[in-house]
Symmetry: C2
Subunit: 342 residues, 2 copies
């Protein structure tokens, strides 16, 4: 009997996870949240343990032609810590497993671990475990971050309510434009080997993709100001896609004000150079690792004066969909494009 | 300037981890144990959280020509749970990340997740997180297991003392011989396609490699009998190699009685068929996922009547080295061969 074959890309990344894990229930009383948020949540009596994991594959998530190993090690840690912060929790430990082909030398791995150590030092987390093994091809990095949260203070994707304010930290689209710069330089290099790119002028954008930071500072500010977001996610796939996750999990709609979308001056200029709408880069770019979150409107005084934080829109009823109010006055649907790895 | 290049295989798997992580200290008060045991240990106030992680790579750790995906999913979970049990702790949650090439269909992944679910059901653990992404080549599986242990009751590799009894559960070498059978059948199949192997006769040995079990039952028996091993490790690399880990971490030596090494009848017969010393298979085979542990001699009454448990030798002073007392009366050095993935 011929077996039916369904191609993976017909489901997409999120559809695939949902499909494969739909029959897995939670049976341990300590398993408070499983798959479907930035991190899993485990009840440990006194407080909550928050766990997030990521698998990074050479050629899919990074290109070693322009990604220095030290930066890669740094970023592999930071993107996982970002998931823990996005729960309004504090990362404490990480484990790192790598699979490597024989093309890598010990010195190359030392560079990777230098970056891992730098991130651990920067964010005050401990490397407590891992595995190293061979791969048939390329470098694979698996990172698990473990954090601690306070009961009643975690921010899930599912807590947004109509009327909540939609906020975002930092600025958007920079990482995507930084990647475009690196891709362009790679093509130049491939056609004219020996040419060394001068990226000094685009330093901000290139750093956004090569050395992103997680918003530990924001979580600390929230704590200081006794603010608990009603829902939160980190901007990894792109604001439009990440906002959809919040809306889906919370059963709400949202409207973004175009004028409220924070875009860095350099990102605007570079987008125009690439003949791209800066707004498209900002909403669909991804990998900015900023925090996208919602707050109860009564908390507005707690955020109004916080630096590097922008009110970008509002949560609406689910029936109103997810919309954008353009500076030209028009309202149209927001479409989640995001980055696809399938 | 030419950079110096050191090949990875000059360090070996354990040497490489040690080398790369030697400058990483622990700074979080909750990080009780980091790299160097079966699992990391995190203090959570009421109890301890135990975390273990593994990265499995197609072509390095498994061959899909004879490893059914459902079994692979089951085994990927079980080997991680085994690490948690080897701490004398109870696994509660797992995360599973996979990277897959487009050669895999949704149906193939369903089989993999059927096996993952079967293991979760069997051991009562919850799947709480993960990641799915593309790979350039083959299947990569990263599993992290999270468990709970009681303060004062964890069994580290470092607690063995001279005079302690060396014990092992189950029997040894079966998984290695099962693998030899599968490798032989693969060669037969490659030279005469269409031939279907009849593995029914070697069912026990083939199951040892394709569907290993973790010794949850033993940890429960220990609890019931109020036994806390002074040191423990699971048999993944082979008893000789795993015993070396205990001896190194505890700063002790050991002597194994050849007559005390448990070997299944089928394993003995198959070893002879392969013209191999059954003892060599038992000591160096690996992947048996039995528990190798030491106990205080005053606890001997607690283990003497336990089923499927064997006293195999004794812990000695470090200066006496790690030895084997053969049935012929000779004493010789034990050499850790284990399985090498580099």
């Amino acid at each position: 009997m011929e077996q039916h074959r369904t191609e993976i890309n017909t489901l997409g990344e999120f559809g695939l996870i949902e499909h494969l894990t739909k029959d897995f229930g939670l049976r341990q009383p300590s398993s408070l949240r499983g798959i479907g948020d930035d991190a899993a949540v485990i009840d440990n009596g006194d407080h909550l343990t928050v766990v997030s994991t990521d698998l990074l594959v050479e050629g899919i998530h990074f290109d070693l032609m322009y990604f220095p190993l030290k930066h890669l090690g740094y970023k592999a840690i930071v993107v996982n810590l970002s998931d823990i912060y996005a729960m309004n929790a504090h990362p404490k430990q990480v484990t790192v497993s790598i699979a490597i082909s024989s093309r890598f030398s010990v010195e190359a791995l030392e560079e990777l671990y230098d970056g891992i150590k730098l991130a651990c030092d920067q964010y005050g987390v401990d490397l407590v475990g891992g595995d190293t093994t061979s791969s048939l091809k390329g470098l694979i990095i698996s990172v698990t971050a473990i954090g601690q949260g306070e009961k009643g203070k975690l921010a899930y994707r599912s807590g947004a309510k109509p009327g909540d304010l939609l906020c975002v930290t930092g600025d958007l689209g920079g990482a995507y434009l930084g990647l475009q710069i690196l891709e362009r330089e790679k093509q130049v290099y491939l056609s004219t080997p020996g040419i060394q790119p001068d990226l000094e002028e685009q330093k901000y954008l290139v750093e956004r993709i090569l050395k992103p930071e997680a918003r530990k500072d924001m979580i600390e500010l929230f704590e200081k100001n006794r603010l608990v977001p009603t829902a939160m996610i980190d901007v990894s796939d792109g604001v439009s896609s990440d906002l959809m996750h919040i809306c889906k999990a919370s059963g709400v709609g949202a409207i973004i004000e175009e004028a409220g979308v924070p875009i860095h001056e350099e990102a605007k200029m570079m987008a125009l150079k690439f003949q791209m709408d800066p707004l498209t880069a900002a909403l669909n770019g991804g990998e900015d690792y900023e925090l996208l979150f919602t707050i109860d409107p009564k908390d507005i005084e707690k955020v109004r004066l916080l630096p590097d934080l922008y009110i970008m829109g509002e949560i609406t009823e689910a029936s109103e969909g997810v919309k954008m109010h353009s500076t030209g006055g028009k309202i149209h649907d927001l479409v989640a494009q995001g980055w696809k790895h399938f």
